[in-house]
Amino acid sequence: MNYGHRLRFGLRLSTDADHEPDHLIKSAALAERWGLDLLVVPAGTAGADLEPGTVSSWIAAATGSLGLVVESPPTPHPAMLARAVASLDQLTAGRVELALHAEAADSGEALGDTIAVVRELWNVLDRGLGRYTGRLHRLSGAQKAAPAHDVPIAVHADSHVLRLVGRQADEWSTGDVTALAEGNRVVDEAARAAGRDPREIRRRITIRGDVGERAGTFTGTTEDWVSDLLPLVLDHGVGTVVLDTDSEDLAARFANDVAPALRAAVDAALPHGWSSTRVRRAAALARRRPGIDYEGTPEGMAEVVEPGDLAYARLRSGYLRGGAPGIVLRATTAEQVAQALAYARRHPGVPLSRRSAGHGVSGRSTNDGGIVIDVSLMNTIEVLDEKTRRVRIGPGARWAEVAAALEPYGWALSSGDYGGVGVGGLATAGGIGYLSREHGLTIDHLRAVEMVLADGSIVRASDVENADLFWAVRGAGANFGIVTAFEFEADEVGPVAFAQLTQDASDVERYLVEWGRVVEQSPRDLTSFVILPPSRAGRPAVALSHTMVHAADRETVLARLEPLAAISPMYAQDVAISSYAAVMNNASDDAPVSRGEPVSRSGLLRHVTPEFAAASARVLRSGAIGWFQLRAVGGAVADVPADATAYAHRDANFSLVVMGGDDEVVDAAWELLRPFLDGLYLSFESSLRPERLAEAFPPATLSRLRRLKSTYDPEGVFDDNFALTPATNDPGGSDQ
């Protein structure tokens, strides 16, 4: 019986204290160089043996790819074991496994409790604090911390706890070849009784041996070793073979001769693809959602993440929206995207979301129970032609990375105000950034895209190829497909000044009007964003402005900032000569842990009039919203004709975004502001009301978009975010 586990080979380290530290490092380095999968750090408990956790961490820091199996003797503090292993797995980006040794006197209670406690502390799929009440060990509200990957838990035991192995472990480890047949029977039976698939449990054998004359099992030539090991793999399903030796020569022979020969022999004996199936734990399968064909996921995806997988905790939610998708398909090529899309289209009625990377406001890149096609791994940034500053960027790159990659060339692409935003979402909607008045929107620098359309075809769009599609992608891209590569023409951008000013805004109306006037009157090398925190009792009302001046000489910078600084008294200021990349380097790498729904409204306006300022002041005082930001647009943005891209509101000088906690409350406040607004920016709008569409696109733009939608996506595959689908009512009344 074979369980379909890819063969792994490892060495068991000798860690009695007689060995010099250099010996440990040397053994580890050799194992790594020989391409072995694992190094087992034994849980010796005799006085002179080194403590395994310490040795594992020490070796981990000196190796780069080797897997480490930390053996643990029975521990009085399983929660600490969980912390230690999770930490080391994080430090090594996922190279650690845990092996528990059963104590002869333990009937399985201590071991069972230990496994349960460790799994509970690592279980970040269920939010909240860790709780477990066992006979010997307990957790009562402990903070959880996950390892970097799904760390397997092996149990090393010969007989007395095999049923527990079947119930709870990920691998059974034994040193007794003769125990395999009966042991497997017990493990498998216990696994099935617990509702598990026996294939969830790997089988590991640890052997000793010698080279030379044939003198019993594992003593002889490479061929002898293979003939001894082959039946263990074929008949007893051994998936991990660990050699316990002090001899470097023997270890070399095992790694370099026996391992490849055994792999070849096993491949020859078993049908093609014998080890290609990933077997998830029963506990993971239980988290699957209805309506999704989990068995039929496309082959060759970079990663398929289900709700029971550890990676799901990092991938389920967006920056502001909590999500619970049924499956996340991660693609690294356009072909994989097409395959994922075909898979999604076989699921009519199941929500489909697309995710580039990073942070988005409306959070349409996740869903509840549906499919997410995630291209965040497509994050390369490549210079195609230095002379024309042509760069090719994957949709999964984040703008901080783009800025850092372009900086050495003296280039930049205006993006947004936060480096954690992903390229794909922003570059198909607009891109209102710190250089917008001088350099326009991000989409104004777009020269070509490659994308996967609803029918699965992979096309290129530019001014000369599929020009209508290229027009639509720049402002309404989400309706037309999944962009797999962007080609931009970057701008030459030298040092910039970045000013963060905190000013008095007790007369908020005056501040807003003045800020708007100063921005509009400033040369284009200045772009300013301002945040007005809602007023709170006992705190002075302030305005926080972030202003970029594309200049590095002190006189110019001061001349540009002076009118802003003069608006009202200053509480704090920070002005630095910096680079665009340094300003964008403001994002955390942490995975989002958002819950709930963002409530965000967007509007565009021509001027900050006293009437608009008065309405804003009312809204800020109302307590209805938690976020109010104005961004300068205009300038170079308005140089582009309104019909040149699907983003058409070129005449706006300002973009407004407000956010709050409740749709109705925010909408009521928004009604006060609406009379002054003309148009909206899709990236900052979370409402899906049909009339928003007419605000996003002027009539001529909307009707052209609808015609194109009926060509490129007639069935409305990409309707999750501001659907243009012809079947819906045309609130603009202007179709055709």
């Binding site: 005799a46 002179a48 403590e51 040795v55 961490s57 600490m80 999770a86 402990a142 903070q143 790498d589």
Partner: protein, 299 residues
């Protein structure tokens, strides 16, 4: 007012932040580059924002070459003394003697209990710490005859094989503030490791606390100087004119020299996650403080 005459050393106190995991490792490397003598990490295992301190220490040990490494201080209630003894001895062997053992009786009992640890009263925790030190030193004492037997109320060892032996005599530093803990420190510890920020009256508190340690040491037949006095510090480098540890590196050096000469502090540990501050502390404050103390002692 005592100067115990110890050689001065300088260290860092780095937050063992879990994200990104390599950040504290980089700060340990920065500490070594700054010429500091020790890098230390707090230990709050119930806090998921932190890495496991011992794992981090062991990892850092392999990445550094010269600097000493310590918990500051390790939470005893969640770390079995027998395991701790073997882990510390193992790391000391691996590093050729670069380990200090800083331990505390435990704080934040809710967090300890949440992790499955035993909740003790302050008095019980002091006794548990004393027993733990007995276990730890007993396991290290491989030249003592026979297996180790400790029959404690909180930690018992029945006939454990001793070892492994550490590479050097690992000093045990105890974090202590209250009289019982100070007396325990005087009786058994190699070092006293409080934080300046927790001293009720700032440096002025040191006199009375030193006195309690000295008395307990003498009563136990030890020289008061057998207990070195360490201090966790935090501050800010400014252009001058601020209060304690709020000035230039020169101001800091004068203030630390004063702490050394007046209160016998010989180990100064700066809490900082800023490489630039660690660099100033190691390269400017440390040599100037040493000079000032040296010239005063020889005067």
């Amino acid at each position: 007012m005592t100067d115990y005459g110890h050689d001065l050393w300088f260290g860092s106190f780095v937050t063992p932040a879990a994200r990104p995991p390599q950040a504290p490792v980089e700060l340990a490397l920065a500490s070594e580059r700054a010429g500091l003598d020790l890098v230390s990490f707090q230990d709050h295992p119930y806090q998921s924002a932190f890495q496991d301190t011992w794992t981090l220490m062991s990892y850092v040990a392999a990445r550094t070459e010269r600097i000493r490494i310590s918990g500051n201080v390790l939470s005893l209630p969640l770390r079995s003394p027998a395991v701790l003894a073997r882990a510390a001895a193992s790391l000391d062997r691996l590093t050729g003697g670069r380990v200090d053992l800083g331990i505390g009786a435990g704080a934040f009992w809710d967090g300890i209990a949440a992790m499955g640890g035993r909740r003790l009263t302050p008095g019980q925790a002091v006794q548990a710490l004393e027993e733990a030190v007995q276990v730890i030193r007993g396991l290290w004492a491989t030249d003592e005859p026979g297996p180790l037997k400790v029959d404690g109320e909180y930690y018992s060892v029945t006939g454990a094989k001793r070892g492994p032996a550490p590479a050097h005599r690992i000093p045990i530093h105890i974090g202590a503030y209250k009289p019982r803990m100070l007396r325990l420190t005087g009786r058994i510890a190699d070092g006293w490791l409080p934080s300046l920020g927790y001293l009720p009256d700032g440096p002025a508190s040191l006199d009375a606390m030193n006195e309690q340690i000295d008395e307990a040491a003498s009563a136990a037949g030890r020289e008061p100087a057998a207990v070195s006095r360490l201090l966790n510090l935090s501050g800010r480098f400014t252009t001058g004119g601020g209060g304690l540890l709020q000035g230039t590196p020169g101001d800091w050096a004068e203030q630390l020299a004063d702490l050394a000469l007046q209160y016998g502090v010989s180990g100064f540990i700066l809490a900082s996650d800023e490489p630039a501050e660690l660099d100033l502390f190691g390269h400017e404050v440390a040599p100037r403080t040493r000079e000032l103390v040296q010239s005063e002692r020889t005067a």
